[in-house]
Amino acid sequence: MSDMTTLSPVAASTARIGRWRWQETAFWLLVVASYFLFSDRYLILTEIAWLALFALSLDLILGYAGIVSLGHAAFFGVGAYGVGLLAKHGIIEEPVLALLAAGLMAMALGFVTSFLVIRGTDLSRLMVTLGIALLLRELANRFSDITGGFDGLQGFTIAPVLGLFEFDIFGRTGFVYCTVVLFVLFLAARRLVNSPFGLSLRAIHNNRLRAEAVGIPVDRRLIAVYTVSAFYAGVAGALFTQTTALASLDVFAFERSADLLLILVIGGGGYLYGGLIGAVVFKILQEIFSSITPQYWLFWIGLVFVVIVLVGRERMRRWARVAPDFLLRRLGLSRGVGGGGSRGGEP
């Protein structure tokens, strides 16, 4: 961390990058607004919130450090079962503390497995991470006397948050709780990626050899960010268990990791909001399609993916930028709202 004090140009640069933009304020205001606007949909909002945190954790390693993973559910699952077991056996009852503890468990696993992941090709990383998650799933199934096996870990209750706010049937507490956790961890991630540490990750992502040549300890940086990411994923898993009061084998499932990757691809990696936006889009699409056609929603969501890629995200973004102007003009309000603030670096 000594780089920060000695290299003032870097400090200046990070300060510039890290400046808070109006779009970001708008985004979080929307999140707050959703509390009032969709008061009967707290449950799905809660799901979006922990999913967003989960996607954020993948963004840290994929979008910033370029480590692909198809087994991020491993950490999610450890967090989920961690919290469940802590609550069930009454070891740590208070949710926030349990959350931290579960996050740390996932973090420990992340640190250990990071050594397997930092070397290798993209494809072998995909498969090693996937293999780890599937192994954990089998372990959880095998030790069913601890985990409840296929039936899942059930029959425990989650104590009120900070001893004050009980989880209610409407999901209000759950939503506020998840959103606050998401926001706090988002701020931490934002701080992290805009620090010299984050810059060095981008350098590694862009060109590993060159990064090595300028003296960045590549392996150590990758291990560090992988470990942090595991913590985030563990917390997301813990939130999942705390808001649903159950944990089952599918927390480790391949589908969970795969969906996560899709979410990040939809939202775009490397600017922190990608996972958040992707989670919102993904869940809402799923919800809309599956309530219209519970049997065949998979088809329509697949179609959306196909169209997204065929049209191309760049073009969509351009449309998104032009659309408000166009609409306003249509309505005879040609004020030309500046919709074009450039977002952070796209991969």
């Binding site: 009967d40 949909r41 449950l43 799905i44 799901e47 089998e138 199934n141 096996g149 296929f150 039936d151 899942g152 059930q154 029959g155 009120p160 001893g163 004050l164 706010f165 009980e166 209610d168 049937i169 409407f170 999901g171 999942f240 649903t244 009061a245 159950l246 089952s248 599918d250 599956s290 309530s291 519970p294 049997q295 929603w297 998979l298």
Partner: protein, 392 residues
């Protein structure tokens, strides 16, 4: 603060329940049912059978009962318990359903149970078959079956019919463990011997190595439980390994011989003896009509999952008639207790103490009838209760 919140919360929950009730008593007079089943994913065929059967019943019996209009809201949980829980919660809170039904797998039924208790809503389990489900909430009832029911019967039957040595092959999850435990209890107590015990992973593409182990242990018969949908695959490989020719019989609860798949299994399935609560060949008029109507509507034979759905919705209709249209959880569960009727599967009733289903278990053998494979019933064990509860 905390106490205050808790009081508020309780008031809110009551308000929901009362609101739902008041809503119904007033103008619209609708009873909403949240049907949560897997419609996508590996368990999709379970969900579809249930959905089909419920639709069929409502076509036949109209959508009005005791002056109330019945509205079914179908939701897909893809057999993931967290989905089940959220959907159930939203159905109860937002759609104000009076009944939640369906539940393709045990964890899904578990996940919804606390909500049924909390919101005082009737929960009808139409598929999941682990014994303890009904103990998770006083508002749960079941119209499918428990694995214990059929497993003890086949255990007794095996002992009586000169089967001495059995090798077991069961899926490695709760229903599989239930089936194995109850079978063993009765079979071993009757003097039988288990010569090999294999638990196969739930997601298991190739049965070959497990079947080879079965073959090596040279049993008189093998006891098999695999979940609905995997039976066909299993039987194919059973025949491929020549087990059908080596005289090792297949016995087990009827899941492996699901009517849904039976015809595709080929002649290798002939002679398999299973104990189960439903066969599409059940020789009653009511069943013949049911099978004919189902085939006409959906182009295939109904399996035992379809019957679970059909009886589930029937139970609700009858319960509503009994309560005069009152749809709160307490009235409904009271009405459900002790209810008895003639189902396509035969006479069934709901145990007033456990709220679980009491039904005949039939021993059937796979035979060819008019060129198609059927489970032909040849022995009946009447009014079998779930052994998981009678034991206590």
């Amino acid at each position: 603060m905390s106490v205050e919140r808790r009081v508020l919360l309780r008031a809110a929950v009551c308000a929901v329940a009362v609101g739902a009730f008041a809503g119904m008593a007033s103008a619209q007079e609708t009873v909403k049912i949240g049907l949560i089943v897997p419609m996508t994913g590996g368990q999709a065929s379970t969900g579809k059978q249930i959905d089909n059967a419920v639709k069929l019943y409502m076509q036949q019996h109209g959508d009005t009962v005791a002056g109330k209009k019945i509205e079914v809201i179908l939701k897909d949980d893809a057999a993931l318990p967290d989905n089940t829980k959220r959907l159930a919660q939203e159905l109860i809170v937002n759609d104000k359903v009076s009944v939640i039904a369906g539940f393709g797998v045990t964890p899904a039924a578990f996940a919804a149970a606390p909500l049924a208790t909390q919101a005082k809503v009737l929960q009808i389990v139409m598929a999941a078959g682990t014994s303890i489900i009904t103990e998770r909430s006083p508002y749960i009832t079941r119209t499918s079956f428990t694995l214990g029911q059929s497993s003890i019967i086949i255990g007794d039957w095996a002992v009586k019919n000169g089967i001495k040595k059995v090798a077991t092959l069961t899926s490695d999850y709760a229903p599989g463990h239930d089936a194995l435990k109850f079978f063993k209890d009765h079979f071993v107590a009757g003097g039988g011997q288990i010569v090999e015990e294999v638990k196969v992973p739930l997601a298991n593409p190739d049965f070959a190595p497990f079947l080879q182990r079965m073959k090596d242990s040279k049993p008189d018969a093998m006891f098999v439980f695999v979940p609905a949908g995997q039976g066909g695959n299993f039987m194919k490989q059973y025949a491929e390994r020549g087990l059908d020719k080596s005289g090792i019989k297949v016995i087990g609860p009827g899941d492996v011989m699901d009517d849904d798949l039976l015809n595709g299994m080929g002649d290798s399935a002939l002679g398999a003896v299973t104990a189960h609560m439903y066969s599409a060949a059940h020789p009653s008029q009511i069943n013949k009509d049911f099978v004919a109507a189902y085939k006409k509507a959906y182009g295939q034979r109904p399996g035992f999952m379809a019957v679970g759905g059909y009886d589930g919705i029937h139970l609700l209709y009858e319960a509503l008639k009994k309560t005069g249209g009152k749809a709160d959880g307490d009235s409904l569960i009271a009405a459900v207790k002790g209810m008895a009727w003639e189902s396509p599967r035969g006479p069934i009733s709901i145990d007033p103490e456990t709220r679980d289903i009491v039904q005949n278990i039939y021993i059937r053998e796979v035979k060819k009838v008019d060129g198609e494979l059927y489970n032909v019933e040849f022995a009946t064990f009447e009014a079998v209760k779930d052994p998981g509860k009678t034991k206590k």
